[in-house]
């Protein structure tokens, strides 16, 4: 006899209960939810347009009109931070989607089929690993010219090998499971085995990897924009705002200060959420 398993609602499920007990996960998800809400709805509530210049209000101190002050062209810092959140997340989501799609597919092919396909994919990723990612991004920018698209393309090229390696390792672990042999023995084709049998069993570590990766991608985008090869004026980005703020750091620190705070908050949020999810989803450290 088996015990009747009733399906509880999501909030009663084991995962939800453990999630609520994990402080990192809760704090991270609150911060991430805040950043995402700002990015989605922010432009509707922002007090000014992000490119509204006010030449009388350059380097304005925080006041009732400009809650966080103004930048070198008198643009409202709060409004620009809000729109900057949207830019950061857009880049992060694009890079994440591309790297997950390419990385998982390549990793599964390398891990399952082995042989020359494995060699080709893994040596390619070794070559990409050999470049420091910033140098690589500058190289791409030199070819494509600085733009948001450059950031997405260069970060995607730099990031997919990490996903591919993780996926390959996970597939190697599972491909000797008997249910894979059973599937082969009843005539299941290799791609059905990959997507129906293996992928659902490796999503948990991939989710963890992706959630930790978002923080790094946001950071990398800010770095590239800081260096001037990322998002271009007048579109705001946190990295670009920090750079602009450096000019007046001694006398008018608000632009660099608030830009850094926004960037730091977002990265801390994503990292806390990633750490929390890792604790919750990684079976190896699960029962500690």
């Amino acid at each position: 006899m088996t015990v009747q398993i009733t399906a509880p609602g999501f909030w009663q499920s084991e995962f939800a209960v453990r999630f609520r007990r994990n402080r990192n996960a809760v704090a991270g998800s609150i911060i991430v939810a805040f950043v995402v809400l700002v990015a989605v709805f922010g432009p509707f509530v922002a007090p000014y347009a992000y490119d509204d210049t006010d030449l009388l209000g350059t380097w304005a101190e925080p006041s009732r009109e400009h809650l966080l002050g103004g930048d070198q062209l008198g643009r409202d810092i709060l409004s620009r931070l809000i729109v900057g959140a949207r830019v950061s997340l857009l880049v992060a989501i694009s890079v994440l989607s591309i790297t997950l799609a390419v990385g998982i597919l390549m990793g599964m092919i390398a891990g399952y089929f082995g042989g020359w396909a494995d060699g080709l994919i893994m040596r390619t990723s070794d070559i990409i690993f050999a470049f420091p990612e910033l140098i690589f991004a500058i190289l791409v920018a030199a070819v494509m010219g600085p733009s948001k698209l450059t950031v997405i393309v260069s970060l995607s090229i730099v990031w997919w090998p990490g996903i591919a390696r993780l996926t390959r390792a996970l597939v190697l672990q599972l491909r000797n499971e008997l249910y894979v042999d059973a599937a082969i023995a009843c005539g299941t084709g290799p791609f059905t085995i990959l997507f129906r049998h293996l992928l659902p069993n490796i999503v948990a570590p991939l989710i963890v990897r992706a959630s930790i990766g978002v923080g790094f991608i946001v950071m990398a985008e800010a770095t590239l924009s800081f260096l001037g090869i990322g998002v271009q004026e007048p579109e705001p980005s946190w990295g670009g705002m920090i750079r602009d703020g450096l000019v007046g750091l001694r006398t008018d620190p608000y632009l660099a200060l608030f830009g850094s705070m926004a960037l730091g908050l977002a990265i801390i949020g994503f990292n806390l959420l990633g750490d929390g999810l890792r604790d919750l989803l990684d079976p190896k450290i699960r029962d500690r």
Partner: protein
């Protein structure tokens, strides 16, 4: 004898082993060494031996899950030794498998309906037809059909093994490899599953290769029994002959090791001494001579042939009896 359903000739499988170090020496492990046997339609052949003797590899070779190094495997007169995966697929519905571990042989993320229905889905059956067939199969193996939407973790080991058997039966195969199909189960459940297998064999006129390390279990279900030692077959005989009058000293030792319920006859037989030698460097001559109570100088140098000692009884020993 009619044409055998499965015919194995000189089957050999080497596994390459990498030794650590810069100049990696390539050693090879001969898991299966020049094995030949045939299984008649409707027959159950038992394959026994200690762990590591290559019996599981034999099953995987017949299923074409691993590539043979040399030799020939024929199914129903067709040589399947070198068929590629595509050419193999139509034949796979006739050759199925039940694995030892009922936990790792079912994908934890698939519902029972999808596990049992997978071979049917591969043939392009539609969903309603698959569900009907799955319900029918669950009835055959003694599981309520309502359970088909559950996941494997909701079942006990014995029930999982029933699910594995239902999956193997889905395509109405003619031949099933049972690889230690009951070894992971409690003794009380073992009997149920063995009876189920025997019923199914009668009902569907199946041919079975029954791989096990447990002679008691094998005796219960098999018509003929093959004994393996270090990749070689050492004895092949009918079930009754093998148990009443084993010819090879290894078979005799295995039978002596079967637990004896009667205390009066217990403890008088010598157990086998020593460990099974490494298959990477098997002993010269007869492979069993290091542990054989009957070994003489000849056994250390000359490899005994696998020969017919009596009609239908084969043995690999210089001094059988």
């Amino acid at each position: 004898m009619t044409q055998p359903l499965v015919q194995i000739d000189g089957l050999t499988k080497d596994f390459a082993i990498k030794r650590p170090g810069m100049l990696a020496q390539r050693a090879k492990l001969r898991a299966v060494d020049d094995l030949s046997f045939a299984i008649a339609p409707g027959e159950t052949l038992g394959l026994v031996g200690e762990s590591g003797c290559g019996k599981t590899t034999v099953g995987r070779l017949i299923l074409r899950l691993v590539e043979p190094t040399s030799g020939r495997i024929a199914f129903d007169g067709i040589d399947i030794t070198h068929l590629d995966e595509k050419a193999m697929r139509p034949l796979r519905q006739h050759i199925q498998v039940v694995f030892q571990d009922p936990f790792s042989s079912l994908n934890p993320r698939l519902r029972v309906r999808d596990v049992i229905g997978e071979p049917l889905r591969n043939l392009g059956w539609d969903t309603t037809r698959i569900e009907q067939r799955v319900a029918e199969l669950m009835g055959i193996v003694g599981l309520p059909a309502e359970y088909m939407t559950r996941y494997p973790h909701a079942f006990s080991g014995g029930q999982r093994q029933r699910i594995g058997i239902a999956r193997a039966l889905a395509l109405r195969p003619r031949f099933i490899v049972c690889d230690e199909a009951v070894s992971a189960l409690d003794v009380s459940i073992q009997a149920q599953i063995l009876n189920l297998l025997a019923d199914i064999q009668r009902q569907f006129d199946l041919t079975l290769l029954f791989i096990s390390h447990n002679l008691g279990v094998v005796r219960h279900v098999c018509h003929r029994i093959a004994v393996m030692y270090l990749g070689q077959m050492v004895e092949l005989a009918g079930e009754n002959d093998l148990f009443t009058q084993p010819l090879h000293p290894y078979t005799q030792a295995l039978i002596a090791a079967v637990p004896e319920p009667d205390p009066a006859t217990r403890g008088r037989r010598g157990a086998l001494q020593g460990e099974i030698p490494s298959p990477i460097a098997p002993p010269p001559g007869c492979r069993f001579h290091t542990r054989c109570p009957r070994a003489e100088a000849r056994c250390k140098s000359e490899i005994p042939q696998f020969r017919e000692a009596e009609p239908g009884r084969f043995v690999r020993c210089h001094f059988p009896g």
